[in-house]
Symmetry: C2
Subunit: 406 residues, 2 copies
């Protein structure tokens, strides 16, 4: 008998019909002898509806009160799922975050889980019930309701799997798993059966959004096996696990791309200590993340600096950067949302030199210009023109023969 933690996102519980499908699937899993803990997000539009009500009040909110408001969405879907299971003669009980013992810090709207007191859950499991837990929420040391921020329900599920010693954490979503590339771009893209935590983290933060990066981090830290799978069919998904548990390490596991990239370049920046700092400090103070940076220090005493940020942040960043241009006496700037990031990810890269070179070669063969490059131990990323993304993904997928079964 295995203990499984299952997480269903908002689209999987968006209507009573979908909740019934989820309940049928859980009943089936239970009849196969599994003990089940289920984490649910709020029904499709609930959170947006609540945000719309709050928007009528103004635009500056107490995050404590917003947490109190938003946490009701997950409580509702948890209760509705438990009611549906009960109607199928399947014993089930719903629990809020505080009832499930999910302790967090007190940082409202983006709290971090600090521990789980699993006594209540274990007692309910011992009665033979399916335990349905409201995701995305916990309780602070001050006994306030907290929410975990973006991707919170994934993190709830992985943390519960760790605390309960579950055999696996199943993340049900609307895709079949993690693919070697976006199947909408590469028709030979192949579902990856197993991927390491490190690779998943790179894929997740590079835009392959099936598992939230924080949840992947949590899984890596506590060594929880996670399976990402489709809630609308019965195919097996992608298992995210320790690299050492995998039979072999692929050199390149997948191609990720990210269109949410904007570039900013400053021309003729005086080559003095502290100048780069001035720019990046202003951006950091305004909570704008800078991703890639290149500084072409080739000329005698002046040079250009270029960097990328998220597209969404461009409007906010431009006036700040313009001030800096004036202040430091650069000759001008250019910017645009016309670029994208394309990356190859693979744990085997560390021990195989020449992978980056193969990537550049493939892009060159396809006549694609590379504007910027960054690398880590298990990935290589390039900034290219946005219009070239589909061609680049396809070229790299061919180059590394990702369509071939492992």
């Amino acid at each position: 008998m295995a203990l499984l933690v299952c997480k269903f996102g908002g689209s999987s519980v968006a209507s009573m019909d979908k909740i019934k499908n989820v309940a049928l699937r859980l009943k089936d899993m239970q009849s196969q002898g599994n003990e089940l803990v289920v984490v649910v997000s709020a029904m499709g539009d609930t959170t947006d509806d609540l945000l719309a009500l709050a928007a009528e009040i103004g635009d500056k909110f107490s995050t404590r009160e917003m947490d109190m408001l938003l946490a009701t969405g997950e409580q509702q879907s948890a209760a509705l799922l438990a009611l549906t299971l009960n109607s199928m003669k399947c014993p089930a009980v719903s629990l809020c975050g505080w009832q499930a013992g999910i302790r967090t810090d007190g940082v409202h709207s983006k709290a971090r889980i600090t521990g789980i007191k699993a006594e209540r859950i274990n007692n309910e499991l011992a009665t033979g019930s399916i335990v349905v837990i409201a995701g995305f929420q916990g309780i602070s040391p001050q006994q306030n309701i907290t929410t975990l921020g973006r991707g919170g329900s994934d993190t709830s599920a992985v943390a519960l799997a760790a605390a309960l010693g579950a055999e696996r954490c199943l993340i049900f979503t609307d895709v079949n798993g993690v693919y070697t590339a976006d199947p909408r771009i590469v028709k030979e893209a192949r579902k990856i059966d197993r991927i390491s935590y490190e690779e998943m983290l790179e894929m997740a933060s590079l835009g392959a959004g099936v598992l939230q990066p924080r949840a992947a981090e949590f899984a890596m830290h506590y060594n929880v096996d996670v399976e990402v799978l489709n809630s609308f069919n019965n195919e097996s998904g992608t298992i995210i696990t320790e690299g050492s548990k995998m039979e072999k390490q692929r050199i390149v596991s997948g191609i990720a791309h990210d269109l949410n990239v904007a570039r900013i370049a400053l021309f003729d920046v005086p080559d003095q200590p502290g100048v780069a700092m001035t720019i990046f400090k202003v951006l950091a103070e305004n909570k704008i993340n800078v991703d890639m940076v290149i500084q072409g220090g080739m000329r005698s005493n002046r040079n250009d600096i270029a960097f990328t940020i998220e597209s969404d942040e461009l409007e906010k960043a431009l006036p700040l950067v313009n001030d800096v241009v004036m202040k430091i006496g650069a000759s001008g700037m250019s910017y645009g949302k016309d670029v994208a990031k394309i990356s190859i990810v693979g744990a085997g890269m560390q021990s195989n030199p020449g992978v980056a070179a193969a990537m550049f070669e493939a892009l060159a063969d396809a006549n694609i210009n590379i504007h910027m490059i960054s690398t880590s131990e298990i990935k290589v990323s390039c900034i290219i023109d946005e219009t070239e993304v589909n061609k680049a993904v396809q070229a790299l997928h061919n180059k590394f023969r990702l369509e071939e079964a492992e």
Copy 2:
């Protein structure tokens, strides 16, 4: 500085505009130096919307899960009111029933408050905040969320006022208070300034629905002064208090009427011990409350029995009563929803004989037939034809000169 508990029902918080009005009123009360604890019901339609979702599942529900579902409505309105107060620079914090320390028994969907641990509320008040509490809910010894059933938010408010030693419990509603008769029927009907708990209880259970009977009971038991007043104007309302605190006891305080009455009569019931019991036992087993009963034991060995129940229960009662008619050998039955109950209520009645006679006289002068009569120490009720109700209310209001100021 007075501590006040204020309760706002679903119609007072039905939209964000109405919530803003409530917030303005509270801010004003706070600026007059009052400490405020506020109890809110769910926004207008929230509870009905949630019930509609549950209805898609089936018609047999786990009351534990329904409590989990429905309790979110009050949590949302509490959070939205606190957010609105905050936006007006008015410190406020919302609390669920469990956070506010509202302990109940474990009878889901109609739990009773067993005690209030007021530590958290007192701590929040000490910071100068308005404390907004989700009404209608509490927490059971098993750490489950419970709801209090009908009129629950009124009861939450009165119980909190008792536990906190509040100076007064203000119940905001959509009428100006308790009237000497329904103002839609009697245009000279006068708002009553003060009324005793006992009188209010009779008025409340007789259909003058401004305060739930259970809340009135609670107020009497814990000796809490309650004021019922209008949330949409600034007039003073009706104060419900101890009879001994009132300057004088009126003989008749008000006229109550109730259209939700049906009559059932059984003819020629054998005059044997246990026969009446057979009828009323069957009804009790089916949770149908019998209100008035008359048994006209005038003839030698057979007699008729007539009684009243709530109209809503008639369809359910008829087959049960028909079975009894067969079984005991009565000669037949008649029934109808064409009757109503009209009552005079007044604490001074106890020491003034002749009040009932005056009532019968007034009805006779107006050519109104009385079918049944029942009396208690502070009220006299008559069953009359439903079509005569308006005329009867007016006649009694005139007879006892209730239009005259006290």
